[in-house]
Symmetry: C2
Subunit: 81 residues, 2 copies
């Protein structure tokens, strides 16, 4: 049993109005010093058995095609024991 975490975030050059709204709310709530906020998605996969290199490649392929939009988003895939 392994956990694979896929994080999907907007590319740095893409405007993030959701993150901008959160940053504005921080200021109104008195939290200063936060110069940027980016909001992304996180998918936590529970995988049966071992995550072999081939399985990881499959997951990366699906992260690129199903979980993210490669035109505007970047993703990372991290295997946790």
């Amino acid at each position: 049993m392994a956990r694979v975490v896929v994080n999907v975030a907007l590319k740095p050059e893409i405007l993030d109005p959701q993150g901008r709204a959160v940053q504005g709310a921080f200021g109104r709530l008195g939290l200063t010093g936060v110069t940027d906020v980016r909001q992304g998605k996180q998918f936590v996969l529970t995988v049966d058995g071992e995550v072999t290199p081939a399985k990881l490649e499959e997951i990366k392929h699906i992260a690129e095609t199903l979980l993210s939009n490669p035109v505007i988003e970047d993703f990372t895939v991290e295997v946790q024991a």
Copy 2:
């Protein structure tokens, strides 16, 4: 300049229909062995200067009140150099 990552996820006992839909799509796309998928949100904060313990407490407070719904969601806060 520090990065603070806040991950917000549904509590384990709360049904996650989005995650369930993603899991179903995995199966149709031929990725087998994924027994569970949970979808959450990730906020990446860029903080000016050092993240002092007091600042971290402020961020945790805001993660609990603004970024998550403590009735149905858990959150983690992680400081990255």
